[in-house]
Structures are given as C-alpha cells and as structure tokens.
C-alpha cells in the first residue's frame, strides 16, 4: 500500500508542469460567468491548446487523438492544472461521457466526423437526457422521435438541466421512438446539431444568478437517419455507456470547483476568536473528517480503476458525503465570517449557492441511496407499478404529449 508515483509518473508530472508554466499566460480566468461569451471563447481556445499539448483526452485511445494513458496520468494532469491556477477542458461532458459513447456505439462516419472537433473544443457537446418529468427515472422521458416515411425522424419535447447547451454545437439526445413497449426498450439516441430549426435553448438561472445549465425545447426538429447513434430503439444501451463513464469521472475535478478538505479552514484560522471556540472547532473537525474520507475514497477508486475495475454504484456514496460535509463546512465558514461572505464578490457566495443544487446533480441523494441499497447491499427493490408495462399505458404526471 503506498501513495507513491512511479518514476514514469513523476516524469510525466514534470512534463505537464513545465507545459502549464510555459502556456499559462494564454489561459482564460479560472472562473467566469457561463453566459459570458468572451470567457467561453477563451475556454474553447484553451481546450484546443490542451489538446495540442496532449492534455485533453488523456485516457482516450490514440486512434481518436487521445493519449491512451492511465487514469492516474489523468489525475496528474488535473492536479497540475489546479496547481497552475488554470482551467481544465471546457467540454468535460463531451470528453468524459459523450465521446466514449460515440466511440462505442457510433458508425465510423460519426466517429470521423465528431470526435476530432470535440477533442479540440472546436465543437462543444451537451447531454440531452433529463426532462421535467424524467430525472431519476430517466427511461420515463417523453420527448418523441417519430419515424417518417422518408427515413427521417421528427423530434418534439423538452430537455432540462442541459449544461453547456447555451454554446454547444451538438447535443446527444435520448428520445422515444416506440411508446408501445416497456419504457427503456423504445428509446433511441440522436446527434442533434443545436442550430437545427426547431431547437431553442433557454438559460435556467440558478440561486447564484448564473445560468450554467438550460432548458432545451425541441419543436418539430427533423433529423436524418445518419443522426441515429447505435440502433433505433436501442438507445438505452448507449445511455448506460454514458452513465458508466459518468461514474468513471467521479472524483475528477474538471470544473475547478474544489470541495477539498483544505478549502474551508483558512477563513476560520484567520479569526483568532473562532479558531479557539470549541463549537466552531467541533463543527470544523466533523466536516474535515468527512472531507478527508472523500479524498481517500477517491484514491481507493483510482486504485480500482488502475487495476482495470469499473467503479460500482457505491462510488455515489462519496458524492453524498462530499455534498453533506461541504454544506456543513460552508455554513460554518459563513457563520464565522458573517453576512459579508454572502456578497457576490465573495467566493463563499458561489459555494453556498451551488451546494443545494449539487445535491441532486448526477442523481439525487435519494436515488443514489436506492441504487446502492439494491445493488451493493442486495436489499429488495421497492415494488414498481411500471414494471413490464408499455410506456403508453403508464401512469404519468400528465398527458403524454406529441405521441
């Protein structure tokens, strides 16, 4: 058992660090507004520079412009970018989840067309899965894709929580092609060019006032058969590939939104009274213990990845701990600093505003507990009224429109 890096990894770290030092003058600011087009342009260009340097798609196969390196090397790159105070890639959703899905399920034409520009940030991607009535229960989605006699499909419906849609060129969209079979059997995955007629993107303003994600409306969007990824009605298999890759990326901090244990103590350490206050200390100690556990949960997961294991659903537990502990720690910091920590100019304004929504990101805390309870502890699932029932006969929140 050791935390040591191999000589090759040490050399790689030095190489990455030298590259970052040589290029960081060209980097955009670490944080910015997700609606600020000039900052986004800077982030795109920076992703291109990272790709040229070999630091985007680190674990991707070389065949597709990646480096074919290990997950540890990816972590080294992530750490060195954090250390240099520069952003990581912009399109972590495309590179982390959607690109691998296209590589696994796409046609050779699709791979040739989409992978290269994705890697370089020339074309950004968004994940059009969740809907107002389909989040935890993703397969209940209602966006319809009706096959036409000429071989095209017409998409109607609404997506939500679509990160980066405001500037994305493409979306990977899960839609229902057959409502008359069990819900996850009638889905198909599509590539949607975001400039297609009928696609509209509306920013979803969050607690902080920033709009990191969006609603995407699809109104009579016509797509040719070349936009289908995988099989028609076989979209669930593609979705599972995306979700598995989402788990692989857990623990990677590509947003620069650090929730690490050493983020929270400095404002408390700077307050001579607070740092000796027993209650403050107890709260800080309590949250720090959990955040340290998150750090070593991540290293354990990395060990598993290195030896070729795919992380199971228990990886979601670390996210639960992170959100719970970071929430307690951020509340403590604001209690100590006072209301000024909630001024938009304060970093804590962003942390405090981000955490309530982050609790549900990538799966609510409740659905994570259900999944882990069923799949890891082997507990019996809750009885379900939708099992084996065709989607069109299911009870839903309201009418299933545009069938």
């Amino acid at each position: 058992m050791n935390l040591d890096y191999t000589p090759e990894q040490v050399a790689y770290r030095e190489e990455v660090r030298a590259w970052v030092d040589a290029h960081k003058a060209d980097a955009p600011a670490l944080h910015g507004q997700w609606t600020d087009t000039s900052w986004i342009a800077g982030r795109r260009a920076w992703q291109g520079a990272l790709a040229d340097g070999g630091y985007a798609g680190v674990t991707w196969p070389q065949e597709w412009g990646g480096q074919g390196r290990s997950p540890v090397d990816q972590v080294i790159v992530d750490q060195e970018l954090v250390r240099g105070g520069v952003p990581n890639i912009l399109d972590y959703i495309g590179l982390g989840m959607l690109g691998p899905c296209i590589m696994a399920h796409g046609t050779s034409e699709q791979k040739q067309r989409y992978i290269g520009p994705m890697l370089h940030g020339d074309e950004i991607w968004c994940q059009m899965f969740s809907e107002p009535a389909a989040g935890s229960d993703l397969a209940a989605l209602r966006t319809s894709a009706k096959a036409q006699d000429d071989g095209t499909f017409v998409l109607d419906g609404q997506k939500v929580w679509t990160t980066n849609a405001q500037f994305a060129e493409f979306g990977l969209c899960l839609a229902r092609t057959n409502p008359d079979v069990v819900k996850h059997r009638g889905l198909t995955m599509f590539v949607v060019p975001m400039d297609t007629a009928g696609v509209s993107v509306v920013g979803l303003e969050q607690i902080s006032g920033d709009a990191e994600f969006n609603e995407v409306f699809l109104d009579g969007v016509v797509l040719g058969p070349e936009h289908v990824v995988g099989e028609v009605d076989g979209g669930w298999a593609c979705a599972l590939t995306v979700l598995m890759n989402e788990r692989l990326s857990i623990g990677r901090d590509v947003t620069g939104f650090r929730m690490d244990v050493d983020r929270f103590p400095p404002p408390i350490a700077a307050d001579a009274h607070a740092r000796r206050d027993p209650e403050v200390r107890h709260r800080l100690g309590d949250a720090s213990v959990d955040l340290l556990a998150v750090r070593f949960n991540g290293l354990r997961a990395l060990t598993a990845l290195q030896s070729g294991q795919v992380p199971g659903p228990e990886a979601g537990l670390a996210k639960l701990t992170m959100v719970e502990a970071a929430t307690r720690a951020a509340d403590l910091v604001v209690d100590v600093v006072g209301p000024s920590a909630l001024d938009p100019s304060s970093e804590w304004y962003h942390v405090v505003s981000y955490l309530p929504g982050f609790r549900s990101a990538g799966g609510t805390a409740e659905i994570v507990r259900n999944t882990v309870g069923d799949r890891v502890l082997g507990l019996p699932p809750e009885p379900r009224s939708d099992k084996g029932v065709p989607f069109s006969q299911q009870r839903t929140d309201g009418p299933v429109e545009a069938r």
């Binding site: 058992m1 935390l3 200390r281 720090s288 070593f296 670390a318 882990v372 890891v376």
Partner: protein, 372 residues
C-alpha cells in the same frame, strides 16, 4: 499508487478471521456480563499467531510488520467482539522495541503482557500531556516522575491494564517534559472496572512513589506516535463492529416482512442501512490514510489517526443504533445480539480521549495547516 491490500495482508486478515470464527466470542460477550470468567483466553491465541509481536522488530524477536497490519487484526477482533488485550499491549510493545530490547523480546513472544498507560500529546489550545480522569469533564496532567526517580499520579480507564505484567507509561518530568517509563505491575495499583461492555478490560492505574525506569531513546515524538497508534487501533477495532452491525441489520431487513413486503424494500429502512455503509466506507478510507501515515507520512499522523478515530467512532455509534432500530423493539432486548454492539460502541467512544477529542484534534491540525 496502490491502496489495495497486499497478498500478505489478505493472508493475515484471512487467518485472523478464520481463527476467530467459531470461538463463540459473541456468545461469550453476552455471558461475561454476569460471569466474567466466560471470556475465552485469546491471549494465548494472540501469542501463537504472533500478534503479540506484530509491531516488534525482527531483531527483537518480533514479526516487524506495520501499524496497518495490526489494524487489520484489530478489525477482525472487533468484528466478533473478541476480547484480546492487544489495544494495551501493541503500543507498549512499540515503545519497548525502541528503548528496551529485552523487554521488547518478552512482549513479542507473549512471555509477558504489557499495557500502555497513554497520555494525550499537547494540542494547539490545551498545552501539556494529559490523561483521563475517573469521572467528570476535563483532563488531568499525566503522572509525574520526581527527581528521585519515583512516579506518582493516576491515569484512569487504561485499556487492558488489569492483569498486565508490566506498564509502559507516558508521564512527564516535574518541568512538564514527557518521558516514557516502565513500571512493573506490582509497583502500581490497578483497580479493575466492570464495564458496560464486558469484553472491554479497563482499569484505573495509580502510581504512588512507584519505582520506574526510563526507556532510553523514547521522547515526545515516540510517545505521541504511541498515542496515535492507540487511536488507529481503536478505530480499526470499531470498524469491525460496524461491519457486523451492518451485516446483522441487512440480513434482518431481507428476512422480515411487513404489509406483504420485505422491510428492506422500504426506503425509510433502506436509506438508514445505506448511510451506515457510507460511514463504513468513509471509516475504512480514513483507516487506510492512518496506515499510510504510520508508515510514510509522520507529519500527517496526528491528522490521519485522529480522523480515523473520529470517523470510525461516528460510524460505530450510528451502526449500533441503526442495527437496533431496523430490528424494532426486539433489537433493544437480550433476545438479540444487537445490544452487545451497542454496549461496545458506548464504551469505545469514551476511551483514550474520546471520539470528540479526536474530532477536535482534526480541527486543530487543519487550522494549523491553514495558518502555516
């Protein structure tokens, strides 16, 4: 980077688990509440298995393994609520290994049994080396070595002190500087406590002008390391009991039905069990961190060992209560073994400074790092 167990560690863990299985330790834990003689003799088992010398170097007839290896054994002991007096013996053996070859060899071979009379190292708010008091809040100064070479003072709630042959004592000189001492058991008074958890051997140790000899080469750093080793061992032992509590509760949640369903299918039950699993995973991660710190990261040892103690203590507290809750009323009766784990949790969280003190030490360490 690799945080997996080595093959040797898997073997060590597996042999401990096999050896302890079928010894009736859980039944004995119950019987011992009314009849202390019901506890099986695990000291001879520990001696045969080489656990007594696990942390003593090979040149002093020990096995020369690391703290994490000992923690694996303690987890297995904790899993079956076994009463083997290693929590007191192992830290003492490490100090003897540094300063007294003959004693180290005796302790390694199990010819004599030692107990570590611990003192908590100074923190960023409370200075001085302090020990437990018998009752009441707050801590008292460690026993003091007088200029004439005799030792006086009391340390309460010392693990495995009753029946120990020799005491390895964290004390101070009259000026407050720490010193490690060896006191033969007959030269001290050990008053045994029958406790809420009958498997836990505890005693109040009083020195009254006791003859004591110094362990050469053992100073503040080594005494602090021994304190943190005790924290890590207690954390590891707690983890084992967490795992047993979780297994019991999950099994019951699959067996028991109400309203035509297994109770484990209800989210209200399932989510409680998943939260225990979450705390178990967190505690294990912190125990791994503590193991790494003992071996390679001395500067992080106070943080890592305290975090492990705090995380495992919190896990055991919640696991023992959840185990009872999932079983319903029966879980709080002697019709079930759940009360044994609850009793274990109640005593464990208050030993060696207590879980809250470990949490405070974590705060002190992260604040110090932030100010550096």
């Amino acid at each position: 980077m690799n945080l997996d167990l080595t093959d040797e560690q898997r073997l060590l863990r597996g042999s401990a688990r096999d050896l302890l299985a079928g010894r009736g330790t859980i039944a004995a834990a119950r019987a011992a509440i009314t009849d202390p003689s019901a506890l099986p003799d695990l000291w001879s088992v520990a001696t045969e298995m080489g656990w007594t010398g696990l942390l003593v170097s090979e040149e002093h007839d020990g096995v020369g393994l690391g703290a994490f290896d000992a923690m694996l054994v303690l987890t297995e002991l904790g899993r079956v609520l076994a009463a083997a007096p290693l929590l007191g013996h192992l830290p003492a053996s490490v100090l003897a290994d540094r300063g007294d070859a003959a004693l180290a060899s005796e302790l390694a071979e199990g010819a004599r049994r030692a107990a570590f009379v611990a003192a908590r190292p100074p923190g960023d708010v409370e200075g001085g080396w302090t020990v437990e008091r018998e009752t009441g809040a707050g801590r008292i100064p460690a026993p003091v070595l007088a200029a004439d070479g005799t030792l006086s003072g009391t340390t309460a709630w010392v693990p495995d002190a009753p029946g120990a042959d020799v005491l390895v004592v964290a004390a101070t000189r009259e000026d407050g500087a720490p010193v490690a001492l060896v006191v033969e058991a007959p030269d001290a008074t050990v008053r045994e406590e029958r406790t809420y958890d009958a498997t836990r051997s505890l005693g109040h140790v009083t020195f009254d002008g006791s003859a004591a000899r110094e362990l050469p080469g053992v100073g503040a750093d080594e005494l602090a390391e021994a304190w943190y080793l005790a924290q890590s061992l207690l954390a590891a032992e707690s983890l084992g009991a967490v795992e047993t509590a979780l297994e019991m509760a999950v099994t019951y949640a699959k067996d028991r039905t109400t309203f035509g369903r297994q109770i484990g299918s209800y989210q209200a039950v399932k989510h409680q069990l998943v939260d225990v699993l979450k705390l178990r995973e967190n505690a294990y991660s912190l125990i791994v961190y503590a193991g790494l710190a003992h071996a390679d990261l001395p500067g992080e040892l106070p943080l890592a060992a305290s975090a492990a103690r705090s995380g495992a203590g919190k896990a055991l507290d919640q696991a023992s209560r959840t185990c009872i809750a999932v079983h319903g009323g029966i879980g709080a009766t002697w019709e079930h073994d759940a009360p044994l784990i609850f009793r274990r949790a109640q005593i464990s969280r208050r030993l060696l400074g207590g879980v809250d003190d470990a949490t405070d030490r974590v705060a002190g360490e992260v604040l110090a790092a932030a100010s550096a």
